[in-house]
Structures are given as structure tokens and as C-alpha cells.
Symmetry: C2
Subunit: 192 residues, 2 copies
């Protein structure tokens, strides 16, 4: 077979896979994890059930891949945001704002069954740890520059930041999320 | 039957019920929710299976009652702590410290299945809301006294506090929890 044909097949496979992931995420958000079947996913994606099973074994497998891609995407976004800011304090603020925006956007969509399922995923735990480590390192850098309190270890401050900013998922507006970031940053100020 | 006899029966029932709840909580913490059976609970409590079923229909029912009692107990404890401190700032600090201590003590015991199960419980949601309202009211009182920032609504600050202090569940020591409370309180200071 010519190379072009193989590439076309590969592109097609990627597109189908992407469509399955997106459809499943939407269906689960609408109906809850326990109410979504492989047949519904196939129908909504516009493919046959047999084709769907060539890509994924069950609904859980689809969701694990979808969630892993989400977290990887968040991590890439935070890394990009970090790279664009100049100076330790600005970098920290930009990354915490981005993290809060992610928390604000990704909560409330899913039911508790799904949260429990996804949190059992070790890969996800690893990616979340990378995000926490990024924040910890930014805190250490800002503390060394005298712009963040040095009386509490960066790892503890990172735990504080990640938990405090998770409140963004319960807040009704972007303005409220901005205030949350300001309050959280105020907790980090050097003690005088 | 004389009244005394009825009271003895009632006391005995309460004791058995309490023993069942305590045994189940311990077994679930040790083995995980999905690995605990009614037979094991009966055996460890030292009663027959038939007797156990007179008290509870299944493991989930036991855990719901156990968890509701825990939350009610936390709420009563926080109310007591609030009553003992003098002045808005002291009351707020005392209640946030107590809340952090509860978060520190009650996390890490349970697996994700159990957390998902319990969070589906509406009664628990109601009690958690009461705790959040208590913290919100303390924040409003302290803000009115000029001891907490007034540029962010007390309800938003309460969301911040509850989430930030939940980090206590991931911290290794009581000293780290104390530092977390100090950092969280620093976020609440009036802006100058």
C-alpha cells in the first residue's frame, strides 16, 4: 500500500477515537456513569457497535483515556502559562490563576461515581502529582526571592494552594474565582 | 413489664447498635468497603447474623448511620468550640483549628468507593452545609469587627476556608496542620 493511504487510515482512526472520547464524556456528564452503555456511545458517535469495540473494551476504558488526556492537557497548559510569565511572583500568580480556572471549568460536570472511578487511576494520580510539584517548585522559587513566606515548606504551601483553589469548582462566577486566587495568594505573603 | 425492664432492653439495644457501627467502621477502614460482609460484621461484633439483620438491612445502611453520627458529632464539637472562645477573631480561629483537626483525623482512613457512597447521602450534605454556614457566619462577624477582609463575601471566604483546610487530610503531622491554619488565616486578613 502507498504511504499516503496508510496515513489516511491513521488519521481516520485518530478522528474516530477522538469522536468516541468526546461523545462518551458528553453522555456521562448528561446521564451519569451508570446510565451510559456502549450501544449509546456507538449510536451517538455514528459508528457501529462492533467498530466501537475495536477501539475500547468498555465505558470505563474510554473514560480513563479521556480523563488521562484531560489531565495531560491541563499540565501542558500550566507549563505554557508558566513559561510566559516573567519573574517568580508573576509565574506563581499566573499558574495559580490558570489552575483555579481549570478547577472552575471541570467541576460540577460529573457525578460522584465517576469521580471515584477516575481517582482510582494511578496514571491520573501521577499527573496530578506533577501539577502539585510544579506549584511546589514555583513556591520555592518565589520564597527564595522573598516574595512568598519562607516559614512554611513549599510542599505544604502547595497542598494549601491546590486545596484552596479547588473551591473554584463550587464558585458561581469568574469574578468569584479571581477573588479566590487573591485570597489564596494573600495567605502566601511573607510574614513581616 | 416493669418500666425498669423496658429501660434495660432499650439500653441493651443502643449498646448493640453502637457496637455494630463501631465494628463496621473499623472493618471498612481496614479492608475497604467492597470487602466487608454482614457475616464478618456479625462475627466481629459478637452477635448472630439474624440479630444483625434486625438492626440493619446491609453494610451500606450501617455506614450511612455511622457517617451521619460522625458529622453530627463534628457539628456539635465545632458548636462547643465556638461557644468557648471570646471575641470574633478568636471564635473564628478556634473553629477553623477544630475543623482542620477533624479533616486531619478523618482522611486517609477510607477508600474512594466509600467516599463516593457517603457523598451520595443528602443528610450528610445538609450537615456539611450547616458547618459551612457556621464558618460563614463567623467570618461575617469577624469582618464586621474589622478583623477579616471585607472585600470578599463571607460565603466565598467560607468556601476558601473549608477547601484550604481540607488539605489537613494530606498533611503528615499536627504541626503541619497548625501551619496550614496560620496560612489560611493569613489569607483572610483585612487588606490595608
Amino acid at each position: 500500500m502507498p504511504k499516503l493511504w496508510n496515513e489516511t487510515i491513521e488519521t481516520h482512526r485518530r478522528e474516530v477515537r477522538h469522536a468516541i472520547l468526546a461523545t462518551t464524556a458528553t453522555l456521562v456528564a448528561e446521564r451519569g456513569l451508570l446510565n451510559v452503555t456502549m450501544s449509546q456511545i456507538a449510536e451517538q458517535t455514528g459508528i457501529g457497535r462492533a467498530t466501537l469495540y475495536k477501539y475500547f473494551a468498555d465505558v470505563e476504558a474510554i473514560l480513563h483515556v479521556w480523563h488521562a488526556e484531560q489531565i495531560a492537557h491541563h499540565l501542558a497548559y500550566l507549563t505554557e502559562v508558566r513559561g510566559q510569565a516573567a519573574g517568580p511572583a508573576q509565574r506563581l500568580k499566573a499558574v495559580l490563576e490558570a489552575f483555579a480556572a481549570i478547577s472552575h471549568g471541570s467541576h460540577g460536570h460529573f457525578d460522584t461515581d465517576l469521580v471515584a472511578l477516575l481517582h482510582r487511576d494511578e496514571q491520573v494520580g501521577h499527573a496530578q502529582q506533577q501539577i502539585r510539584h510544579m506549584i511546589r517548585d514555583l513556591l520555592a522559587e518565589a520564597a527564595a526571592a522573598g516574595e512568598v513566606r519562607a516559614d512554611v515548606a513549599p510542599a505544604e504551601l502547595a497542598a494549601y494552594c491546590v486545596h484552596a483553589l479547588a473551591a473554584a469548582g463550587t464558585l458561581p462566577s469568574k469574578a468569584a474565582v479571581r477573588r479566590l486566587v487573591l485570597v489564596t495568594l494573600a495567605g502566601l505573603r511573607p510574614t513581616t
